[in-house]
């Protein structure tokens, strides 16, 4: 036995010496460390993230602090005391608050109806939410101008001239008008999060309350609502963040009504001569609001784990509403009518009419489409630019996202969490802020990127990198590391393992991520509006410019073309991604 103990204890003395001498000779033969391709790729991805996100932000900060002579806080002082800026800040907060409130009311009601009651037409409600979410907000805004502009809006004209009830007329160019148009885009945030939370609450929680004698209503109020409150609040905050970032509707609806908000005020600061310092300071104030809201949102969302974990429980019982379920159906139909039917039928009608007015149907024509597609020389360039940019941006974002996700999950690189956070930063940056930051960074660089397609590309990849990192992360989590390790031990290099094993396995996730980036990029306006030039003009900017120039009917035709392209993209997304767009895009900033 003694022999065993000694063996077990480690053949100490003599053998150790033998080992060290052997190690000495063998070390010389061991490979010297060399630069491998994987290090280049990973280093490249980290570098790209720095150039895309970190450096522009640093220049934004620097720009806000650069005064007449040296560093100063003068821009912040002006932004936080000047009447123009304070009223923009106030308007943004008012807009955000009202939008969040109405998004909460509409979104939660519809979500409750869909997941907890026997309301008919659930498919319609889901469709309404999805379409509203995917519609480009600035197109909805333009459509509502056709209906409710104070003098020429079709419904206002009808009320004044035909119905003889001018007091019923509604002026869209006002804060209520802006809130209306914005809510149509933001209520789906509440709806989607609330519906999924309501569906995943374990019915046992509610049944336990009922067996103790609580009524249906009491159970809903005291058990169900507290359980889903974190998800609902989180959706409401997302609605807030997205609402205040939408440049398009705030420019189209807000500016004519003298409702100037943060994005439109920042935009105005770029009128000649551009006020970089003030724009940067105002942008940073904007970012603080957004980041604070997103921080709260994450904190709320982190608390909902007990909802999603209860997977085994029975499906919740549906509440029998009786005749009152038709009231809910009516509400749903009204939302569908206002958010989908009204804007799209209006755009179609305007695009086909010779001149928009009460008797537009007397003179239908395709001339607007002919003009837009064949005669207006901007259209084709804009379509090409947008398709090219969206394709390239989505591809780059997805590849970058895959590498960053891989570094985060599969390596022990120090600071990899920091990398992950850096990739999340753009969620808190409204589009126009991204543009302000990029302009300052690239104007300071020796490369003349301003006004080129390249700077738009950088803006898009930077803005939507969080979406692709997130989807790559989710796919990689589902791949057991041993699938990669087994290729490695068979002699496959990192690149071979990536090409043969990892990328093929996460391809569906990557494609979903690709579409997740493609769809918002093709309708991007907030950042593009400051970055485009006549040669790099995009589709959304072309629509906006044409609208600003006053080509009423042609704008609608171009908007329809825009819609068609987005529609095909989304249709593709659903066909391939299985509805992942609506689910995954929830966290993305839009506008």
């Amino acid at each position: 036995m003694d022999a065993q103990i000694q063996r077990a204890g480690g053949a100490a003395g003599s053998l150790t010496m033998a080992a060290t001498t052997r190690a000495g000779t063998a070390r010389a033969r061991a490979r010297p460390p060399r630069v491998r391709l994987e290090h280049v790729i990973m280093g490249g991805a980290i570098g790209a993230l720095i150039v895309l996100v970190v450096l522009p932000l640093a220049f934004l900060l620097l720009g806000s602090l650069r005064g007449e002579e040296g560093l100063s806080l003068e821009h912040f002082a002006e932004v936080l005391s000047g009447r123009l800026y304070l009223s923009a800040l106030q308007n943004s907060l008012i807009l955000g608050a009202w939008t969040a409130l109405f998004s909460l009311l509409i979104g939660l009601t519809l979500a409750f109806a869909v997941s907890r009651t026997d309301v008919p037409g659930k498919g319609l409600i889901r469709l309404t939410a999805t379409l509203s979410y995917l519609s480009p907000p600035f197109l909805t805004a333009i459509a509502f101008v056709y209906l409710f502009s104070p003098n020429a809006g079709l419904i206002n004209v009808f009320l004044r001239d035909v119905a003889g009830a001018p007091w019923l007329a509604f002026n869209i160019f006002s804060m209520p008008g802006l809130v209306l148009v914005t809510v149509l885009h933001t209520f789906p945030f509440v709806f989607l999060l609330a519906a999924s939370a309501l569906q995943s609450v374990d019915a046992a929680y509610e049944e336990a309350a009922q067996i103790l004698g609580a009524s249906k209503l009491r159970t809903t109020v005291s058990i169900t609502m507290p359980l889903v409150a974190p998800a609902v609040l989180s959706g409401t905050l997302l609605a807030f963040v997205n609402a205040i970032a939408l440049f398009g509707s705030q420019a189209i609806i807000g500016l004519p009504g003298r409702v100037v908000t943060l994005p439109t005020r920042i935009y105005a600061l770029f009128d000649y001569p551009p006020e970089y310092g003030l724009a940067s300071a105002l942008s940073l104030v904007f970012v603080v609001i957004t980041v604070a809201a997103l921080y709260l949102q994450r904190a709320f969302l982190a608390r909902r784990s007990y909802v999603t974990l209860a997977g085994k429980g029975a499906r919740p019982q549906l509440m029998r509403l009786g005749p009152s379920r038709f009231v809910l159906l009516g509400l749903a139909a009204l939302v569908f009518l206002i958010s989908i039917v009204a804007p799209y039928s209006t755009l179609v009608a305007v695009s086909l009419s010779k001149s928009w007015g009460l008797d537009f149907w007397k003179n239908l024509t395709l001339a607007n489409y002919k003009f837009i597609l064949l005669e207006y020389n901007v259209t084709q360039r804009a379509i090409l630019n947008s398709l090219l940019l969206a394709t390239v941006a989505a591809t780059i974002a997805v590849l970058l996202g895959a590498v960053i996700g891989w570094i985060d999950l599969r390596t022990r690189l120090p600071g990899r969490r920091l990398l992950d956070y850096a990739a999340l930063i753009p969620l808190g940056l409204p589009g126009i802020v991204v543009a302000v930051a990029l302009i300052q960074f690239w104007l300071a660089m020796p490369l003349a990127l301003y006004g080129t397609l390249a700077i738009l590309l950088l803006a898009y990849v930077g803005r939507y990198i969080p979406l692709s990192v997130r989807s790559a992360n989710a796919s990689l989590r589902q791949i057991d590391p041993s699938l990669e390790e087994s290729a490695q031990i068979l002699g496959a290099s990192w690149t071979a393992t990536m090409r043969e094993i990892t990328l093929p396995l996460i391809r569906p996730g990557l494609f979903a991520g690709w579409l997740l980036v493609f769809v918002p990029v093709i309708q991007e306006l907030s950042a593009s509006i400051l970055l485009f030039s006549s040669s790099s003009i995009t589709l959304a900017v072309a629509v906006f410019n044409l609208y600003e120039t006053g080509y009423t009917e042609s704008v609608a035709a171009l908007a329809m073309v825009n819609m068609a392209i987005i529609g095909v993209a989304i249709w593709l997304a659903y066909k391939v991604g299985g509805g992942g767009i609506a689910a995954g895009g929830r966290e993305g900033a839009t506008g």
Binding site: M1, D2, Q4, I5, R7, A8, G10, A11, A12, L15, T16, A19, R22, A23, T25, A26, R27, R29, A30, R31, P33, D480, S482, L483, E485, S486, A487, Q488, I489, L490, G491, A492, S493, A496, E500, I501, P504, L505
Partner: protein, 377 residues
């Protein structure tokens, strides 16, 4: 074929505040052409050791040599793809997007083996693991056992010097596991590849290995043949882990030249091998396997070791009893099923002293009074 020499190997995990030593100061010599098992409970460091050998992990201290090549040291680790080893994972890690053929041929493609040659080798290897005819199937269409064989074939086809196996049988049902166990052993003999096999199943380790390394708490407890670690455990941890054992407290009556007389549970007087330096009067523990205890019907005669049957379990090929000695010590006993006793019977207890081990009481360890029944699974 290759030998593996491990010296002073250590690996820590975790953050600065919660540092866990997964492996510490491990020394191990794995000879060429051997089937060596790393055995221990989950979390003991055996898988970490395997992953250090494979090169997935960088050691904090120590070295690993394959033959005379230094493959791992804290500053320098040859990556797994340059080690010419094979590895079979617990999860199989068979690529779901590749057919059986594509899975197996992967390593040959990496080695740029000509297509015809590669096809021949794949077919040979598939035949070796009894998978002929399934080459065009996808893993999703295979049973767990078949996927296991694909993983095996994929590692074998490249003719590695060393094959690492990480609990490869743990996801199979009992019957299949036994069959694969036999096949693995045959395969190792036939190929002559050095197998390093990780398992927590002591029966598997005993059945398969040339040598067993019992690892506990990141440290090597004993390294020996299956017979040695079972019948001559180096310490009570090994004795406890290698199957059922009664750890009975006792005292040394006399000791000389490594042999002594001990009295266990105030009743059993045994002449056994004792550790060096054991003194009379010293408290010790005696490890007695249940199969080395015999029970005889007591016929009223005065008995040195008398016990009462307190529990009986019929297990088919054996019967298991719990016999309570007059001192209160409970012994687990396994007998031939035809020897039948009833609960309450008074029996005489005989112990085969030649197969008992004696361990000195380590004052820092809890006494075995904590184990009232004196045995653990």
């Amino acid at each position: 074929m290759a030998s593996i020499t491990i010296r002073g190997l250590s690996k820590h995990f975790g953050s600065r505040d919660a540092d866990v030593a997964a492996v510490s100061g491990l020394d191990l010599d794995i000879k060429d052409n051997q089937f060596v098992t790393l055995l221990g409970p989950s979390g003991c460091g055996k898988t970490t050791t395997l992953r250090l050998i494979a090169g997935y992990l960088v050691p904090d201290a120590g070295t690993i040599h394959v033959d005379d090549r230094l493959v791992s040291s804290p500053g320098q680790v040859i990556p797994p793809d340059a080690r010419h080893m094979g590895m079979v994972f617990q999860s199989y890690a068979v690529w779901p997007h590749k057919t059986v053929f594509e899975n197996v041929v992967f390593g040959l493609k990496i080695r740029k083996v000509a297509a015809a040659e590669a096809r021949r080798k794949v077919e040979e290897t598939l035949a070796l693991v009894n998978l002929s005819g399934l080459a065009e199937r996808y893993p999703g269409e295979l049973s767990g056992g078949q996927q296991q064989r694909v993983a095996l074939a994929r590692s074998l086809v490249v003719e590695p010097e060393i094959l690492l196996l990480d609990e490869p049988l743990s996801n199979l049902d009992a019957k299949l596991r036994e069959r694969m166990r036999g096949e693995l052993k045959v395969l190792q003999r036939r190929t002559g590849i050095t197998f390093v096999y990780v398992t927590h199943d002591q029966a598997e380790a005993l059945a398969l290995s040339d040598m067993v390394a019992v690892i506990h708490g990141g440290r090597l407890q004993q390294y020996g043949t299956p017979f040695e670690v079972y019948s001559r455990p180096a310490n009570r941890i090994v004795a406890d882990f290698m199957g059922l054992v009664n750890l009975v407290p006792g005292t040394v009556v006399e000791a000389r030249d490594g042999v002594g007389t001990v009295e266990a549970a105030s009743a059993l007087r045994l002449t056994v091998a004792v550790p060096d330096g054991t003194r009379p009067g010293e408290a010790i523990e005696v490890a007695i396997r249940p199969e080395n205890i015999r029970l005889r019907a007591a016929n009223g005669a005065a008995l040195p070791a008398r016990a009462t049957i307190s529990e009986r379990t019929f297990l088919g090929n054996i019967s298991e009893y719990q016999a309570t000695l007059d001192s209160g010590q409970v012994l687990r006993v396994q007998t031939h099923p035809l020897e039948r006793f009833a609960v309450g019977d008074i029996v005489a207890v005989e112990v085969d002293a030649a197969h008992c081990s004696v361990f000195r009481r380590n004052p820092s360890e809890p006494t075995s009074d904590l184990r009232a029944d004196g045995a653990t699974a």
